[in-house]
């Protein structure tokens, strides 16, 4: 006797806890196999780009914090670089070193969150996530010393940062670097060679490097497919040209490769931070208000600046009409664009791998919807 079966369409999200925010997918299953996926965005759309048109250039820094809320410092940095390019501001060296330290710390924090939630999605409920969050907590404490805020930092200003690091920051940073190093070792020891993680993540959602480049996917996802493309190295902004670090590459382009690239990149970020500490010298953290006024008025024109964010190329496109607020601001959001191949990654895989694959993209809904 044969039983007639038909595909079932299931609505996942927007309230599902594994969707890393408010993301909704209409997934069609044939048995346990995924046959079609349609992502639905927009549940966290706040219109940041429209809001930016009514705010001054310094006020917009607070809007960028709320886009990718686990990597606020990196968002600040990308935005400030676009403003500096638009206004031809030469930043103060100490300010630049401080913001490089801050953004590398933020990258580590963001990768910890990505790793923790990937393992949560794999079914390792609780423990690895708590370990990763504990280390992120350390970094947030450092941010609290730098600027008083933990998540929505708003630390950067055109030309540098708004205040110098307090005395207590430097010993605390040294201590934290050791702690983070140890906990990365811990993660590697327990997870990178773990048989269960191998069997769940190796060989799933493999994408070719050509299709990744064609779909504008950047960041750890692209490097996990063997393409040596890191903007810190390829197009050095700030003082990254004075810094040496290893570019982490993997060739498998599967979920394990993405996880592995992120973990190794945290180590490289630690190295970058210790080089920054060596290079930093006393001085002003931002140009005087005579050189860079609080209310900057750029010449009419446009600028696009991109940095290597924790999730990929994070770019800001600003158009000025000579006024105190931008005529148009556009954010090139890596989280949104990295989802372009979601359908290709999921179709043909099993339901149990759905959230693992989704977690390996490392997206943040605040940035997808803006």
């Amino acid at each position: 006797m044969s039983i007639e079966t038909r595909p079932v369409t299931v609505n996942l999200g927007p309230q599902h806890p594994s969707t890393h925010g408010v993301f909704r997918m209409r997934v069609t299953f044939d048995g346990e196999e995924i046959v079609d996926v349609e992502p639905v965005f927009g549940y966290l759309h706040r219109g940041s780009e429209k809001l930016a048109e009514e705010r001054t250039y310094s006020q917009i820094v607070t809007l960028t914090d709320r886009m990718d809320y686990v990597s606020s410092m990196l968002n600040n940095q990308a935005y400030i670089l676009a403003v500096e390019k638009l206004c031809n501001i030469v930043p103060s060296p100490r300010g630049v070193w401080l913001r490089m330290i801050a953004s590398e710390l933020q990258r580590i924090a963001s990768h910890f969150v990505a790793t923790g939630f990937l393992l949560q999605d794999l079914g390792a409920l609780g423990t690895p996530l708590i370990y990763c969050m504990r280390e992120r907590e350390n970094i947030l404490d450092l941010f609290e010393m730098l600027c008083g805020a933990r998540i929505t930092n708003s630390y950067l200003r055109p030309g540098g940062v708004f205040m110098d690091a307090p005395e207590v920051f430097w010993p605390a940073l040294d201590r934290s670097l050791g702690d983070i190093e140890k906990s990365i070792d811990e993660i590697e020891e327990y997870l990178s060679g773990n048989e269960i993680i191998f069997s769940r993540t190796k060989g799933t959602a493999v994408l070719s490097s050509e299709s990744l480049v064609n779909a504008s996917i950047t960041g750890p996802m692209l490097r996990a497919s063997g393409v040596d493309w890191d903007l810190r190295h390829r197009n050095p902004y700030d003082y990254y040209s004075d810094i040496t670090f290893k570019r982490i590459l993997h060739t498998a382009s599967d979920n394990y490769a993405r996880y592995w690239v992120r973990v190794q990149e945290m180590r490289e970020s630690l190295k970058i931070i210790s080089q920054c500490i060596k290079n930093i010298e006393p001085g002003p953290v931002r140009p005087s208000f005579d050189d860079v006024p609080r209310l900057v008025r750029p010449e009419p024109g446009d600028s696009y600046a991109a940095i290597e964010g924790s999730k990929g190329e994070l770019g800001f496109y600003l158009v000025s009409d000579g006024g105190i607020s931008p005529y148009r601001m556009h954010v090139r959001a890596p989280s949104l664009i990295n989802l372009t191949l979601l359908r290709e990654m999921l179709v043909g895989e099993l339901f149990g791998d759905l959230f693992v694959i989704f977690g390996s993209v490392d997206l943040n809904m605040g940035e997808v919807d803006r």
Binding site: E49, A215, I217, G315, T340, R370
Partner: protein, 160 residues
Amino acid sequence: MIQEWRGNYLAEKIELKVKNSIDKFDEKNVWINSEKLYEVCKLLKNDPLFEFDLLNSLTSVDYIDHFEIVYHFTSISYRSSCIIKCKVGYGRNNPKVDSVVDLWRGADYQEREIWDLMGVKFIGHPNLKRIMLWDGFPGHPLRKDFVTYDQSIVNSKGDD
């Protein structure tokens, strides 16, 4: 270091291959005639001189009398980048431009976003639906003449 293509040099090279495609150019940017845009994009992607395989960013600006579509390209093999722009929708009636999704998949969500928020149609896009806002949302909010809910209350005279 990524080398940026100079606008005048790029315009010259494009004009050689695709006739009458250049609207105007300056040091940084090249403006392409909208009817030749797809042809130029195909050239930029496939010609061994350019090989722009990565579409960094695709966005649009509302300049009141027209819309401008802005493309940022990077070539991973040559480590070069360029900016091309395209003016569409003079008179604000039904702005439309050719879609480049079949050349760069990465344009997919970005074109949908422009359609949703700015209201520029992309001809040939396989799934041109609203992405951030819901179906039936009135208007396109990133246009300069869009009246937000708060503004509509301020503008209204009231009953008395």
